[in-house]
Amino acid sequence: MTTGFFSSVDDVAERLATTGYLASRAVATTVFLADRLGKPLLVEGPAGVGKTELAKAVAEVTGARLVRLQCYEGVDESRALYEWNHAKQLLRITSGRGESWDETRTDIFSEEFLLARPLLTAIRSEEPTVLLIDETDKADVEVEGLLLEVLSDFQVTVPELGTIAAARRPFVVLTSNASRELSEALRRRCLFLHIGFPEEELERRIVTRKVPGLDAALATSVVRVVGALRAMDLRKVPSVSETIDWARTLLALGADRLDEGVVRDSLGVLLKHQDDIVKAAAKLDLEAV
């Protein structure tokens, strides 16, 4: 049942940290459980908190192959699971060597003409695999049905070839931005993890880690300002990725400490709506923007 990547919660946290992914307690615990119970992991949370990064980091520390299915509106079975290589099949038929139709037919529906898409690839993979199903909420409801089948038994039926069961259970991560409610049935199959904004201390460590060369005191101020912005009622509060961008900007600007001018000039890195910027500037007592 288990994918057998990790030996304990601490092991998860320590090894993820080696790739630069600093996991909160919730993240480490849930990743460990997904590994131990062999269940898919559904990760939700605002954009830019490291949902996709988590899957990448797990793949990296475990030396597993990362197979990614990027969902979008209109993604279907042939994009997610498999399809037949029609062009090649046609070629095979036209170059027919005079054998009977029955022989040709069995031939063109064989392994050689099968194009495996991410789900089938992950299931057939002999080596350790991390399957990332990114932005699951963007896909149509029918794809969810397909996922249900694949994720509960880890097997896929190709009518012409029969049932293909997983040689090795992949470590599955589904991410969602909650732009659509995923079905209860899918949620039931998964362990649930919500990655929110990190605590101040953790975010400070992430920033220092991602932006080496940033003064420690400045990093603390950066995180405090971002924390204050998150407490405001904005249309889009800054995420961790924006914190890092801002820290990089400040480093590039050569700012060694925060003052009104620097914050005012670089607020656009953190906030993506003009009315948010105006509001934040007013609350932070910056002069007219």
Partner: protein, 462 residues
């Protein structure tokens, strides 16, 4: 973090399995759909992470039992009851003035250091020392209210600020006050949790878990919501609006499928010798409906109307035109106010009452006059493409309901839906004219934001 062993030292010792099933039962009572499979998973998860770290136990159970982040606050409170922090207060306090001063001193230090572990211990000590009421040493109950009103952590702000302010004032220090306020609020929540836990020990966990834990924000009854809950409801509007928008878009997409465009199919069939191999489906222009809201904003239902207006405002891309009218006993258009209110939803209701002409000689809602005025003055707002939502409890304070006016409006509109925040069993009681109105237009109960989201999604035309 102090390790807490479930089934450990406390008087009501019970094994982890009983605790788990108790927890699951309490969560189910709060409307969480937890299947047996998930309970079993939770058991496996507990086995895998062990019991040495309470927060790990919490995360393991959350991962296996929860299906969404909205459930988390309720889960955390129930969890704190079933897997309480071990220990409690280190020192027994007698509740004297000296103790109080000393405790406040330590609290200020802990707040300045933002030391979570110390704050947890202090919360336990505070409730133990100052939260008990009743008779004798084994007191009858524990009150967070009493604890907090004696401890008054909010008055520590200045002291904490003085302790933390660096010599050289830095830009980020202007954020300090808000940061400290947030820490204090977090401490108050810890005290509330601790008081609940102590009460639970006395009265039995199951009872407290069912009663004393507030539900999720989207289940809060509009008419009962307090100030803080309304704020929380407001925060659920934006994601709700986005969800509805994608749902409406998907529905339009689906509705657009299916009809064959004969001309283009034949045109395309030329390349296959007149055999229509690939039929072309007709593309439909998205017909965006016009939306008109008519909201009762009198005191009794203001929260509901405000919330709905915000939701509609957030959805406004979906409509070619949205107009909002508010009334108490006179009608006025508030579309402009709502558009400007985007930046400050909290004060919206007050501004509407202040700036629009909504009341005549008295402040009670009068549906008859308001409907009549709406039908006369704003007749042009309602046409064959309009979907009209009327929001209100249909309590006319014994005035004439003016059914004819509603009938006139309903005849002109494409559709009219009346959302009533009262439960159907109350319709028609007292001064409620709900049944009379319901005969003319479609009236539905709508008591919380979950229902509202589902309703609006279903009622809006494709």
């Amino acid at each position: 973090m102090t390790p807490a062993v479930p089934g450990g030292t406390s008087a009501d010792a019970s094994g982890p399995v009983e605790r788990l099933t108790g927890l699951v039962g309490a969560l189910r009572d709060h409307g969480f759909g937890i299947g047996t499979g998930e309970t079993v998973d939770a058991g496996h998860a507990l086995e895998a992470v062990g019991f040495t770290d309470r927060e790990r136990v919490r995360e393991a159970l959350a991962a296996t039992l929860l299906h969404g982040e909205r459930q988390r606050p309720v889960f955390d409170r129930v969890f704190d009851l079933y897997f309480p922090l071990g220990g409690g207060g280190r020192t027994a306090l007698d509740g004297t003035a000296a103790d109080l001063a000393e405790l406040r001193e330590r609290l200020a230090d802990a707040l300045a250091a933002d030391d979570g572990a110390a704050l947890a211990v202090l919360a336990a000590e505070a409730v133990g020392g100052f939260g008990g009421y009743g008779s004798g040493p084994e007191t009858d109950g524990w009150s967070s209210y009493q604890t907090l009103s004696r401890l008054r952590p909010e008055t520590l702000l200045a002291r904490v600020r003085a302790a933390e302010r660096s010599e050289e004032p830095e830009f980020a220090d202007r954020l300090l006050d808000d940061e400290i306020r947030r820490r204090i609020e977090a401490f108050r929540e810890r005290v509330r949790t601790e008081a609940r836990r102590r009460v639970a020990e006395r009265q039995g966990r199951d009872r407290v878990a069912r009663r004393a834990v507030a539900g999720t924000a989207d289940g809060v009854d509009f008419l009962l919501a307090g100030r803080a809950q309304l704020d929380e409801l407001r925060r659920t509007v934006r994601p709700l609006a986005r969800k509805l928008a994608t749902r409406l878009a998907a529905r339009r997409r689906r509705a657009a499928r299916g009809e064959i465009d004969l001309r283009r199919t034949l045109r395309r069939s030329l390349s296959t010798g007149g055999v229509p191999v690939r039929p072309v489906l007709r593309r439909r222009r998205p017909g965006r409906p016009e939306l008109v809201l008519l909201c009762d904003v009198s005191g009794s239902v203001a929260g509901f109307a405000q919330f709905t207006m915000l939701l509609v405002q957030a959805l406004h891309d979906q409509f070619s035109r949205v107009r909002v009218f508010a009334f108490v006993n006179r009608v006025d258009e508030v579309t402009g106010l709502i558009a400007r209110g985007a930046a400050d939803p909290a004060g919206l209701g007050d501004r509407i009452l202040a700036e629009a002409e909504l009341t005549g000689w008295h402040g009670q809602s009068d549906y008859g006059t308001a409907l009549g005025e709406f039908a006369d003055r704003y007749a042009e707002a309602v046409g064959p493409r309009t979907v009209l939502f009327v929001l209100g409890d249909a309590r006319t304070n014994r005035a004439d309901p003016n059914l004819a006016a509603l009938k006139r409006v309903a005849d002109r509109a494409r559709r009219v839906h009346w959302l009533n925040p009262e439960q159907p069993s109350l319709w028609g009681t007292g001064d409620s004219e709900a049944p009379a109105y319901a005969e003319i237009v479609d009236m539905r109960p709508c008591r919380n934001s979950r229902q509202l989201g589902a309703l609006i999604g279903r009622l809006l035309p494709v």
